[in-house]
């Protein structure tokens, strides 16, 4: 076998060195033709493959394009649509664009694309073949490793899905109970609100207290904190949207005169760069930033960033909060705990109900407090249920082998960028100061 190869190699070298050096017409008129096609070209009159024309045997590879589809010039660069076949013995055969034939660059590992004597191509097919074989072997190994990993993942996923489903159904039960309680408390609260006007002062007091309680209670629900922020976002957006663009330009004109030289430079630069100005300012003046965050305008900056479409940071943060919250709640919910709630709530309601008229202020506060407590609980439950339901909706592969990827974050450091991929969620590119969402 080996002997045969080297023989062919030798005869090949002989072929190249024997051809005429000044002409680019190949000495072997079958050059560039794949073996399975050779019979097609053995006739005296040959058809162009697209049927447009016929040509003679002498016109095959005569370095002049007769067929628009390149049929007559498989071995030269004469037809732009021609394809050159390299045998590449020792490696895989390949086709080249005709533009590569005799262009002074060795493309085939057997060097057959360069036969006009302008360059000498080394025969590299054996090396190339070896390399290809190696990489193919490695691919197989990787595949096999992958198969094992996949099996493990499938097993883990099964368990995780079972766990999540169990949790989901548990949560749903819990929701039912809590909904009931909330419903009952709601009735009570409504009653309280129908109390005569004279109680107003005291009620206000009570409400204040409630607010204080809410603020001081760190374990209070997240939604109620997020909600007002979102509202303010919308407001700010609205404001920004209202001001017409020419107004902005005017403002910029007026303000640009008050800018320092550096600020003006950054401002003008930011037109081209689109985004750099703000970030750089942030970098250079962290003190100012801190002050602003503490000031009455806190939150403004973030909302402006939202307007710009550079909202990645903000969204990202919220995403993190989501995760944290859900994992906080995800304490296994035992039945005993559920029963307890039900009991306490019932007891509480009953105790309040004992005094039918009038409800003492203290009780009113208590009711409201409880009501708020359970509403919060309910919304926590709902958000956890919906996030679990959402999660379970995804396609995690045939055997749910990607289930556990849901909560994973893959990081890759490439030069100055850090790429983070959170499967089923998002992908980002960070370069120290800024973060870009990738599609």
């Amino acid at each position: 076998m080996k002997q045969r190869l080297s023989l062919m190699y030798l005869s090949f070298i002989l072929i190249i060195s024997s051809r005429e050096s000044s002409s680019s017409i190949p000495s072997n008129s079958f050059i560039g033709i794949p073996p399975q096609d050779e019979d097609y070209f053995k006739r005296e009159i040959i058809k162009c493959k697209n049927g447009s024309k016929k040509f003679t045997k002498a016109q095959l590879n005569d370095d002049f394009c007769d067929c628009p589809d390149g049929t007559d010039e498989p071995g030269t660069s004469a037809c732009p649509l021609g394809k050159f076949y390299c045998k590449n013995i020792g490696h895989a055969p390949s086709f080249l664009y005709s533009s590569r034939v005799n262009d002074g660059i060795c493309d085939c590992c057997d060097g057959s694309d360069e036969y006009d004597g302008k360059v000498k191509c080394p025969y590299t097919c054996h090396e190339a073949g070896k390399v290809a074989m190696e990489s193919f072997k490695r691919k197989i190994e990787v595949y096999q490793e992958g198969v094992i990993l996949r099996k493990v993942e499938i097993g883990l996923a099964k368990r995780a899905i079972a766990r999540d489903k169990a949790e989901l159904s548990g949560l749903k039960n819990e929701r039912e109970v809590v909904e009931k309680v909330v419903h009952q408390l709601e009735g009570q609260v409504r009653k309280l609100e129908q109390e005569p006007q004279e109680k107003d002062d005291k009620m206000r007091e009570a409400r204040n207290e409630k607010v204080e309680n809410e603020e001081s209670g760190p374990d209070k629900n997240v939604d109620s904190q997020i909600e007002p922020m979102k509202a303010s976002d919308v407001e700010k957006q609205g404001q920004a949207g209202e001001s017409p663009s020419d107004q902005n330009e005017k403002d910029e004109h007026e303000s640009s005169e008050g800018l320092s030289r550096e600020e003006l430079g950054r401002l003008v630069e930011s037109r081209w760069t689109g985004k750099k100005s703000g970030e750089q300012v942030e970098e250079t003046d962290p003190v100012k930033n801190d002050q602003e965050e503490g000031g009455p305008d806190a939150g403004y900056e973030e909302s402006v960033a939202d307007n710009s479409g550079r909202s990645s940071t903000a969204q990202y943060k919220i995403g993190v909060q989501d995760l944290k919250n859900s994992s906080d709640i995800a304490t296994p919910s035992g039945k005993s705990w559920l029963d307890k709630i039900q009991e306490t709530a019932q007891n509480f309601l009953q105790s309040v109900n004992l005094f039918s008229i009038p409800v003492a202020n203290l009780d009113a506060n208590k009711i409201r407090k409880e009501y708020n407590h359970y509403t919060a609980k309910l919304s926590d439950l709902e958000s956890r249920i919906s996030s679990l339901t959402e999660k379970l909706k995804f396609d995690f592969g045939k055997q749910n082998e990607f289930y556990l990827f849901y909560d994973r974050c893959f990081e890759l450091k490439q030069d100055k960028y850090i790429y983070k991929v959170r499967p089923f969620r998002n992908a980002t590119q960070e370069d120290g100061s800024s973060e870009t969402q990738l599609g």
Binding site: K53, S99, I105, E249, L259, R261, G265, D415, K416
Partner: protein, 917 residues
Amino acid sequence: MKMKQVAFLFLIFLASQTVYSWKKDEFRACDQTPFCKRARFRKPGACTLIAHDVSISDGDLTAKLIPKAPHDQDQDQIKPLTLSVSVYQDGIMRLKIDEDPSLDPRKKRFQVADVVISEFETKKLWLQSASTEKINGDDGGLSSVVYLSDGYEAVLRHDPFEVYVREKAGNRRVVSLNSHGLFDFEQLRVKKEDEDWEERFRGHTDTRPYGPQSISFDVSFYGSDFVYGIPEHASSFALKPTRGPGVEESEPFRLFNLDVFEYHHESPFGIYGSIPFMVSHGKSGQSSGFFWLNAAEMQIDVLAKGWDAEGGILMPTEQSRIDTFWMSEAGIVDTFFFAGPGPKDVVKQYVSVTGLPAMPQLFSTGYHQCRWNYRDEEDVENVDSKFDEHDIPYDVLWLDIEHTDGKRYFTWDKMLFPHPEEMQRKLAAKGRRMVTIVDPHIKRDESFHLHKDASQRGYYIKDATGKDYDGWCWPGSSSYPDMLNPEIRSWWAEKFSYDNYVGSTPSLYIWNDMNEPSVFNGPEVTMPRDALHLGGVEHRELHNAYGYYFHMATAEGLLKRGDGKDRPFVLSRAFFAGSQRYGAVWTGDNSADWDHLRVSVPMVLTLGLTGMTFSGADVGGFFGNPEPELLVRWYQLGAYYPFFRGHAHHDTKRREPWLFGERNTALMRDAIRIRYTLLPYFYTLFREANVSGVPVVRPLWMEFPSDEAAFSNDEAFMVGNSLLVQGIYTARAKHASVYLPGKESWYDLRTGTAYKGGKVHKLEVSEESIPAFQRAGTIVPRKDRFRRSSTQMVHDPYTLVIALNSSQAAEGELYVDDGKSYDFKHGAYIHRRFVFSNGHLTSSPVGNSRFSSDCIIERVILLGFTPGAKTALVEPGNQKAEIELGPLRFGGQHAAVAVTIRKPGVRVAEDWKIKIL
């Protein structure tokens, strides 16, 4: 503090705005510019200067300009001005007016250095005598007349003073100055006590220590229907009037090099470059030209007919005429009058003053792929290999500012480009080049050797107080080397040596951007006018030439780097008269819309007309995302720009030709391949420009000077004398109206179909190509083999496409050299002339050439030839070649429509004859 906070919030807010537009009010309008406002208010006849002491001295006609009566309107006209008229070979008159140096003016006014080439002085004709004549009908007014050239005279009228060129026969005027008495020259003087010379604009203060020093005058072009030139503006090719009856309120054409963010596609506003050279053309078929060598801010009004109807001087009316009004903030009057008479003569006259366009390297006439930015070495490798994968040729890959270490030019970002030399070598192995960007702003960073060196040597431009000027650009705080100083230019040039520019290799070339100069926190985004250059020259005096000197220094650097053997390639954004000697320019940061595609044609035509033949617009448009159709149309048009480069802003989506589906890839590949097949023709045209100044891309009227219908056509253009191309400038176009000038026919480049000349054709338009035609009577050399880049095409055979005229004749030329060195200057080139007549095609040499090539001619295509003949006889050797029908183009399914001589096999370097039997 509060104020600062507000400003800070604004910054963030503004940064968040995604929709931008040209901020017009950030730039000075004429009425915000004292010298312009003042000049525009002047009335015809306001100038009362007369020429006194007229005599011949040192071969010039000289005089003193003094007020006719003391203490008239020109109150500041206290000292006489010196005037000199010189004449040069080939019909060029030079008029200079300056303050009299012997009267000890407060400061020497700036004369633009290093623009007029030294050879020009050798063409000076030493005047021996002037004849004096009395003007008819004038009460005894005298004129001095001197010889200009065969058929032309230069005339100085004494009272009131006026200078003009006239044809001897019939005393017909050609170009004149001060015929309307608008001449004004503000002499330098001492500040009066109550005067405030400072000028303020949007928070910037110009100290103007020398006070007003502007110059303005009127120039008239006779026998003229249109004027052209004075780039750079995004506007029509034929300049629209800016003042006079029927003209709405308009700014004058402004010449002030500025980095205008998202410039508007139809505006007289000044952008990146300035060439104060205007060309006129009229029904007579004759052209003339006027060039004012002055690098200060200039404003030019084109005056509508009848602008002087009230109260002006009545001019002879038998000739159609266009009047123009030129205003400049500073400098002197150093003007050149070009007598023509043909359009190509005017261009030749202009380049004999400012220099011939450089002969580019062959690779630079191919396709360039650029983007802000190719991110890293892997990205470069990937883009490069995609071209091969899709079999699309290209020659140069470009790296924008992000390749550097913190915008310190001559450095590489070590993370992204750790192996710059290897990267360039990989490209070079495929015959491709790389271009990196080098801008004039130098980061003020003590650890940056370039900054340290420049500041220690005192090489930076100074601010008005004498400290190094500190501006803001990409790197942040930056300073700018004083390129007016030849010593600093030579210091700069050294920075391009392989030792100094670490990571550079012989296949690396340079791009100069931001050289207007762009200064983000300067007035109008440029340098303050009171900044100081060599010898106390104020920036205001040379502003428009700063980018020119920078371009020059960079090109000299590349020349030095290659021991004077390798032709430099430097692309510049800013330019001035003479920039054609140093490289290519492009039309800056255009936008991805149809209007910008459309305006690129008049912009490129104008640049070519004013010497800058190697120019193009960013294909695809820099800002914004072109829809695929626009991108394809842009490639189809851009393939005919002299400089053909795709470029994009970094916030745009990737738009390399293979990203828009197979069909669009095929269309863009086809467009780029058309360029490559035509490279022999383009290279021949670049050589023509290199010896004559006649541009590669020309207006129709340059080839058809008497065809009036062509005078204001800037939708179509000529590539050389043989091809006419018209872009498709609208989406989903089904038809296009194309005017084909002249009496002879035109052949569609794709189908070979013949169209009659001298009429408008309504043509069907397909997505496959834009209208393009070969003029009957011409021969175009092509190379129809497709390759990876121009480098691999060197040995490929030629195809000659002969378009026969009504007498079955045609002619054309081919120029070939090594494509890179200066050996062609010593005769190492092939220059052939092909003539077809009486059924014979003959190749004969032009000039004495000593260059060898193994290239043969593989195919001769005859358009407009009656089929029938079967064979041709090739001499010498008396070999027979077959004649058959073949396709006109390759690379697609093209029908066999053209009479083709198959494999005549003659060598391109030799004399031969092919006879059709």
